[in-house]
C-alpha cells in the first residue's frame, strides 16, 4: 500500500511540475515538448530499480521505445484532427487514444524479440 502511495505522490509531483513548466513556456510548440516529458517514466523506473533491479528496468526501457513512438503518432494525429478537421480538443485527444494503443502494442510485440 505504501509503495502505491509513494508511486502516486512521485508521479503526481513529476507530472504537475512538467505541466507547470509547459504552462509558462512560449511559443506553444516549444511548450508542447514538455507534454512528452518522461515524468511517469522517471517515477516508475526509480521504483522499479529499487524493487525489481536493473534488468527489469532495462526491459521496461526497451518497451518504452515503442510507447514513445506511439506517443509521437498519437500527438501528430491529435494535431491533424485539430487543424484539418476542426474537432474539439477533448474529442481529438480521446479519439486518438486508440491509435496510441495500436502503435504501442504493434511495435511492442515487434521489439519484444530484440534483446
Amino acid at each position: 500500500m505504501i509503495e502505491y502511495l509513494l508511486r502516486f505522490a512521485v508521479g503526481g509531483v513529476a507530472v504537475s511540475a512538467f505541466a507547470a513548466l509547459s504552462d509558462v513556456l512560449r511559443p506553444k510548440s516549444f511548450a508542447g515538448l514538455f507534454s512528452a516529458a518522461p515524468s511517469i517514466a522517471i517515477a516508475t523506473l526509480l521504483i522499479a530499480l529499487m524493487q525489481n533491479g536493473a534488468s527489469f528496468a532495462a526491459t521496461e526501457g526497451r518497451s518504452m521505445i515503442a510507447g514513445a513512438l506511439a506517443l509521437a503518432t498519437y500527438s501528430w494525429t491529435v494535431c491533424v484532427l485539430l487543424q484539418k478537421f476542426h474537432v474539439s480538443s477533448w474529442v481529438a485527444t480521446m479519439a486518438a487514444l486508440g491509435i496510441w494503443g495500436l502503435v504501442a502494442f504493434g511495435l511492442g510485440s515487434a521489439f519484444s524479440g530484440v534483446s
Binding site: 509503495e3 502505491y4 508511486r7 502516486f8 505522490a9 508521479g11 503526481g12 507530472v15 504537475s16 505541466a19 507547470a20 509547459s22 504552462d23 509558462v24 511559443p27 506553444k28 510548440s29 516549444f30 508542447g32 515538448l33 507534454s35 512528452a36 516529458a37 511517469i40 517514466a41 516508475t44 526509480l46 522499479a48 530499480l49 525489481n52 536493473a54 534488468s55 528496468a57 532495462a58 526491459t59 521496461e60 526501457g61 526497451r62 518497451s63 518504452m64 521505445i65 515503442a66 510507447g67 514513445a68 513512438l69 506511439a70 506517443l71 509521437a72 500527438s75 501528430w76 491529435v78 494535431c79 485539430l82 476542426h86 474539439s88 480538443s89 485527444t93 496510441w100 504501442a104 511492442g108
Partner: protein, 146 residues
C-alpha cells in the same frame, strides 16, 4: 522567435486544474506499476509513454485561449484549437526525444543506473530541443526571405 517564459500564465490555471493534473499523473504512475507487476516489464514499459494527462492539458490550453479571446470580444474557438494543435505538434517532437530517453535507459541502466538516468534525461532534452529547432529553421529562413 526564440523560446521565452511567461510566469503570469501560472495564474490562468485554476487550483482544480492543478489538482486534476496531480491526480491523473499519480493515477497513471500507479497503473503503470500495477500493469508492470501483473503483465511484466514488456507490457508495463509501453505505459511509461502513455498520454495520461494529454487530453486534460490540451483541453485546458484550448479553454484558456478561448476565454482570453472571448474576453477581448473575439471568437476564440478556432484560436483555442490552434493553440492545442501547436502543443500537440510540440509533443510529437518531444516524443522523439522520449524515444531516445528510452534507448539510453535500455542500453545503460544495467551498467550504471544513476548515470543512465542522468544521460537519458539529457538526451530527451537535447533531442527534443534539436527537433524543435530543426523544424523551425526552414520556416524562419522563408520568413526572412519575404
Amino acid at each position: 522567435m526564440i523560446a521565452s517564459v511567461k510566469l503570469s500564465a501560472l495564474r490562468e490555471t485554476r487550483w482544480h486544474e492543478y489538482a486534476i493534473r496531480f491526480v491523473l499523473g499519480g493515477t497513471t504512475t500507479v497503473l503503470a506499476g500495477l500493469i508492470g507487476a501483473r503483465f511484466g516489464p514488456v507490457v508495463g514499459g509501453l505505459f511509461l509513454a502513455f498520454p495520461a494527462i494529454f487530453p486534460a492539458s490540451a483541453t485546458m490550453i484550448d479553454k484558456h485561449i478561448r476565454e482570453r479571446k472571448e474576453k477581448a470580444g473575439l471568437l476564440g474557438v478556432r484560436r483555442g484549437q490552434q493553440a492545442a494543435a501547436l502543443d500537440a505538434l510540440g509533443a510529437t517532437l518531444g516524443s522523439i526525444g522520449l524515444a531516445t530517453f528510452a534507448v539510453v535507459i535500455w542500453q545503460l541502466i544495467k551498467v550504471n543506473s544513476a548515470l543512465a538516468l542522468f544521460l537519458a534525461m539529457l538526451s530527451w532534452f537535447g533531442v527534443s530541443i534539436f527537433m524543435w529547432h530543426a523544424r523551425r529553421q526552414p520556416r524562419v529562413r522563408m520568413s526572412r526571405r519575404r
